[in-house]
Symmetry: C2
Subunit: 247 residues, 2 copies
């Protein structure tokens, strides 16, 4: 944990870039991973956006999110083809030029046979001026970090490897702890009790998640807090309410 | 198709409301469904956002999206518990009061035994003034439409039933057609050819989607156009390029 600064709350946004998610052709596999990964680090994911492969859309979203949250993570659009325009869009968002990066070229030369670093592949070495590279253990072509924005690949295996490379550099907050109570009833039956418990414990976040299966409704109640003692007390009250309403 | 107006392009945004998606506790199942559903109707999904169960976040997102796109669809936060605040947030976004709606009460009374429409359940009958109800065939508590914003439940089965109820009321555009060409090569090998084909057919959108499996990279190339003849010609050129590079 060297180099991490302990602060109470660290926030993040995740920006998914890609027409293929919006058309429904590709099922997103990155949002759930990033949500769980950041939560486990003690970083609160506050917002997710999915935008098209269009320069203005990407640049606008990056600029809206980077002033609002401690970190922005993006996935998608850094490959070698004409529709990969994330790097130039992020450079535009930061108002810096996009340059062929000698460090990126050097890394990629270890991956390709001599003469195989074609112009298309060199596209992947274009990095906004002033950015740091993010290591890609899978296929070498790097991601990059500029300001508080981390630009990663869209392929889940590569995105996850990049996330692992970034993680040690991030400041993290006090971890949000959570407990779950299952209630074998529709949430409307326990709603008033939960509302009272939420009021009694303002330092917790109590979520109620209905589930429909076999035509029957059950409820999962999730209690979240950064304070273990408060979490335990609130969870006890929820469990008691469930037991009373079940009995 | 009665009542549908044929226009070229109809756009939409999808707003997912819920802490449970952002914490990673619940895996989103609605984005992929809505993306495919709208595409099949001939509506272009242009943007997705996921926000927390916080009134200002929800109202700000609704207001940002409803002026930008023909339609906004939301899911989540219309249940009976204290953390379900979508209805009041949307009312705030439109600057109208949230009222106990007699139409919603009447629908819900058919679902519950006499005396079982408790105050918590009546929460689900609070609808922004001026809104139309959206039918819920699964569990009766309705969604609603106000302006161009359609507010739906988060439970996938209910959300999908509401989408089916909404669909006949939507104007739709000329359907985007697509063809897929599989290329047994990393996308960097075909990148330059694809770029040239994209330039030659500006009325198409050519996407290149790399896939890593068993340590090998292959590529799916998706060609999209609203014009069948142009789609066919561009797809032919892509297939030819793939064959030449494979041979």
């Amino acid at each position: 944990m060297t180099g991490r600064k302990a602060v109470d709350v660290v926030t993040a946004a995740f920006l998914v870039i890609g027409d293929e998610i919006l058309s429904g052709r590709t099922k997103d596999k990155n949002i759930g991973f990033v949500a769980r990964y950041l939560t486990s680090l003690g970083i609160d994911l506050k917002e997710v956006r999915v935008v098209q492969d269009e320069r203005a859309e990407i640049a606008d979203a990056v600029n809206a999110l980077r002033v609002r949250y401690d970190y922005v993570f993006t996935s998608g659009g850094i490959g070698p083809t004409h529709d990969d325009i994330t790097a130039e869009s992020v450079a535009e968002a930061f108002g810096v030029p996009l340059l062929l990066d000698p460090r990126a070229i050097a890394v990629m030369e270890t991956h390709y046979a001599p003469g195989q670093l074609t112009p298309a592949r060199q596209r992947m070495a274009r990095i906004p001026e002033g950015a740091d590279l993010i290591e890609n253990r899978v296929s070498k072509a790097p991601g990059f970090r500029i300001g508080n924005v981390h630009v990663m690949a869209g392929i889940p295996a590569i995105m996850q490897a990049m996330m692992d490379a970034i993680a040690p550099t991030l400041k993290t907050g006090r971890k949000m702890l959570s407990e779950t109570v299952d209630a074998d009833m529709p949430e409307s039956r326990i709603a008033e009790r939960l509302s009272a418990i939420q009021d009694a414990y303002p330092e917790t976040l109590i979520g109620s998640y209905p589930k429909a299966s076999d035509g029957k409704f059950t409820t999962q109640i999730v209690i979240r807090s950064r304070d273990e003692a408060i979490l335990k007390a609130a969870t006890g009250d929820v469990a008691k309410a469930v037991a009373e309403l079940t009995g």
